[in-house]
């Protein structure tokens, strides 16, 4: 017997609206009309090439970590966004000949990171230069702190879902004078450290928009524009709902099952 789970009507309608807007923007605007939206400046992404270049000049490696989240949980999207950026960063690093060290603490993500970096080397035709040992599996991410200091890294990219390990990693980076470039969403308790300790930081939603910012692929930038529309709907709901409720007509609030 299949029945609709009552009490989830609002959720269903809103999901359809949100997903509908996003799919329309991606498929119609992006893939068919090839429209490219300008995205506001994200300083960390502009700095990546320079940061990696600094590593080459100083003859020191760079380090990347896609966070400590697993793939089958809620935080999967953060990890995937981090891995997307690894594709970009590894691509640049291999091109300019900078050694890239990746540490991963979840075995599933490790496999993905390993293959992403291997592919980056293959695309540049340098597959024989690929050193599998540089993609390290660290069952406990915090134990990578000492390795950062031993390897004397020049840049420390921390992009993904983070918990308490973030501060250990960032402090280890700043000890050896590495530039910390961080992107973090999902765990709010860690954001203050990212803002305070890193040279460049992508906060919250900026992190998800970063890959579109660098790829400038029409479908991706249109999706970011769609994201903004969804946000405008939320802003409108917040403004309208709270004003109506204050005036004593909590129609919208009741409709959404609140209040």
């Amino acid at each position: 017997m299949i029945a609709f789970d009552t009490g989830k009507e609002v959720m269903l309608v809103m999901s359809i609206i949100f997903i509908g807007i996003l799919l329309y923007m991606m498929i119609v605007e992006g893939e068919q009309r090839k429209k490219v939206y300008n995205i506001r400046r994200l300083a960390p992404m502009d700095a990546i090439e320079e940061v990696i270049g600094r590593g080459v000049e100083m003859n020191r490696p760079i380090h990347f970590c896609p966070g400590t989240g697993a793939l089958n949980r809620l935080e999967a999207t953060s990890t995937l966004a981090g891995l997307t950026l690894l594709t970009y960063i590894a691509g640049i690093a291999v091109k300019v000949g900078c050694r890239i060290i990746v540490t991963v603490s979840k075995a599933d993500v490790y496999t993905l990171a390993l293959e992403i970096v291997r592919t980056a080397f293959r695309l540049e035709g340098k597959e024989e230069e690929f050193v599998e040992e540089d993609i390290m599996f660290m069952p406990q991410q915090k134990s990578a702190a000492g390795m950062l200091q031993r390897e004397n890294v020049a840049a420390n990219f921390l992009m993904g879902a983070w918990w308490h390990e973030s501060l250990v990693m960032m402090e280890a980076g700043s000890r050896v004078g590495a530039m910390n470039v961080c992107g973090a969403a999902y765990t709010l308790g860690q954001l203050p450290w990212f803002v305070a300790c890193s040279d460049y930081v992508l906060i919250g939603e900026e992190f998800y928009a970063a890959s579109a910012y660098v790829s400038r692929d029409p479908a991706e930038t249109c999706l970011i524009a769609g994201q903004d529309y969804v946000k405008f709907i939320c802003l409108g709901l917040i403004a309208l709902g709270s004003i109506l409720a204050t005036m004593g007509i909590p129609v919208l609030t009741k409709l959404f099952g609140g209040g």
Binding site: R73, L74, W163, T187, L188, G189
Partner: protein, 279 residues
Amino acid sequence: MSFDKLFDLDQKYLYLVLAIMVSIPIIKPLGLPVVPGTYTKGTYDFISSLPEGSVFVLDAAQTAGYGAELQTQYVAILRHLLSLDVKLVIVSFAAEGPMLVDMGFAGGTISGTPVDPAFYGDVYGEDYVYLGFIPGGETAFFAFGLDCWMTKVDEYGTPLEDLPIMQYCKTGEDWYGIMSFAGGNHEQRIAQWNSVYGVPLLFGVPGVSAPRMYSYIATGQVESMLVSLIGAAEYEMLSGKVGLASSLMDVLSLGQITIVFFIILGNIGYYIERRRGVK
């Protein structure tokens, strides 16, 4: 000038000062005052107003990594609940739960003095029970609400049929309240327990997770919470059962004052440096 050095200290000295400051109260407790905050009061009021014989679930999902933070909360709440006339069902949704629940009863360095249920006149199987660890995260929260007998046996291998308390607790509908000590997966618990059964949900959270909880409390999805060691200490004070948390509070006070002191010191240095730069 030696004065300048004060504002650009080597990290080693900072660490040394912090280590000394936090060690003082451990060697000799100072007994600094504790003032209960609103959320701790909310938790205390909720638990003390539980009706006689109601079923209360403790989700002991604390892990050793969080150390004294969650364990002291758990012990403070456990002591208070045992002294009340409620049916207490303890369960763990974290693998390290069983170890820490045992430590709660037996006492330990991060748990304080032992908790003896017999002291409060409680009998295992009638007034309280421990169901052990249930793996599976969100799916397990869901399944446990659907069927509290899913484990078939308790932690010590006794079939649930032989435990009279379990007759009162069959599904999530029977719960009067649930308190979860967890470092993560809070949203999933809200979704599976509060949204589905409307059970009042309380949390004992580490300091890191507290910021995201404020908005859930404001929306009423979460009843109230204890935050970190300070929540445990305040709770101990309210319930009149002083334990480890109260004695560790001094560490927290002195540690935070040290950090604030150094932040201010760093800023004075920065200010002087900037003024000199302008000239």
